[in-house]
Amino acid sequence: MPPKHPLAIRWFHWLNFPLLSLMIWSGLLIYWAHDSFFAFPAWLYETTGIGFRLAEGMQYHFLFMWLFAVNGVCYVAYTLLSGEWRELVPGKDALAQAFQVVLHDLGIRKEPLPKAKFNAAQQIAYTGVVLMGLGSLVTGLAIYRPVQLAILHQVVGGYQNARNLHFLLTVGYVGFFFMHVGQVVRAGWPNFRAMVTGHE
């Protein structure tokens, strides 16, 4: 039986988890130095030990960004070449279908959902998070080399705008994470196992 999730996708997925965690952590070490968009309370920086570590944060962030970006590019390339993208990209009725998924998950809609590898809500979430990754890459490069990559810097509306968008996207990842883990818990062990072994 062919696996539900191809081995390559399982690798990209499980590499992305520690890489994104490291990017968020090192990003917070940087964000601390100028938390202009949203000021976390001082006790949060103190208790988590993420204050006063800007140099370290930049060092880690500018290392793991390469691995994070390469992993993301490989994932997208694989889904395109393998045809897996057909399962992942939302169709034209996806919004209406996703609404039905939400009703179903909330217990309002009683009928079972149509059988598919990924439902419309999943397709929107999984494609959306990849687009967010592209957004992080573009805003990140605009912050990293605002003079030499002036075009990106202009596209994202300047240094502060780029930082704010970059931060907002991170908030989005955290939201995605909690939603995702919640849904995985609801779906149960065989579904989780399929992301490791490939088989449900």
Binding site: R10, W11, W14, L15, P18, I30, Y31, A33, H34, S36, L54, A55, E56, M58, Q59, Y60, F62, L63, L67, R145, P146, V147, Q148, L149, A150, H153, Y159, Q160, R163, R193, V196, T197, G198, H199
Partner: protein, 215 residues
């Protein structure tokens, strides 16, 4: 069976990845990134300029090396060709440049500021060696630059900020303005400039920041 193998595979793979990442941390990502930047992002672009009306007073971060020695100030310039000493009047007799550029701090803030001064390249010897070192008169703050950034047509030895002579907290009487680098390289109250073939020490690099510090 295949289940156990998969879990084991990802477990062992995960351990190998973590070990690999720990190895990666032993190399300096900053030096690695510098090498990539120097390959891919050359020749250097000009930094964006703004109408002078947009200029604001930037924060006065970084007061290291700004104590004393203002009355006896002079600029010492050294290169393999020899050494010379310049007064502010000597510098102001050189060709002027006025520009309004964005000063960007490693901390993440930025400010549009107007500057007036003379290009650092006007002090460079012909066939200048690979690096430039600048330090405050008391040598407590110092930055190192690659020659290409030092000779950039917007790298300025400035004596005026936003139409006024520099105040002490902003680096009077002469500071560096280098829009292709983070603010940490924009050294205030320059006492000496040395063109050298050795990669110079750098105050913030010694405290964990990127030596190259390019924007």
């Amino acid at each position: 069976m295949s289940n156990r193998r998969s879990f084991l595979g990802f477990g062992l793979g995960g351990v190998a990845v973590i070990a690999g990442l720990r190895q990666l941390l032993n190399v300096s990502p900053h030096e690695w990134n510098e090498a990539i930047s120097r390959k891919l992002l050359r020749p250097f672009k000009l930094a964006a300029t703004f109408p002078a009306a947009r200029a604001r007073e930037p924060r006065a971060n970084g007061q290291v090396g700004l104590e004393n020695e203002l009355e006896t100030w002079q600029l010492n310039v050294a290169s393999p060709d020899g050494a010379r000493t310049l007064s502010l009047t000597d510098l102001q007799a050189m060709p002027h440049v006025s520009m309004t550029t964005e000063l960007m701090c490693v901390e993440g803030w930025s400010e549009v500021v107007s500057w007036k001064g003379t290009l650092l390249r006007n002090l460079a010897p012909a066939n200048a060696p690979e690096y430039v070192s600048l330090s405050t008169p008391d040598e407590s703050y110092y930055v190192g630059l690659d020659l290409e950034s030092a000779l950039h047509p917007q790298t300025l030895l400035a004596w005026e900020m936003n139409g006024q002579p520099l105040t002490p907290e902003h680096g009077a009487p002469l500071r560096l303005v280098i829009p292709v680098k983070y603010g940490i390289k924009n050294i205030k109250r320059i006492g000496s400039i040395q063109f050298s073939s050795q990669r110079p020490a750098d105050y913030w690099h010694e405290r964990g920041y990127d030596w190259y510090a390019a924007l």
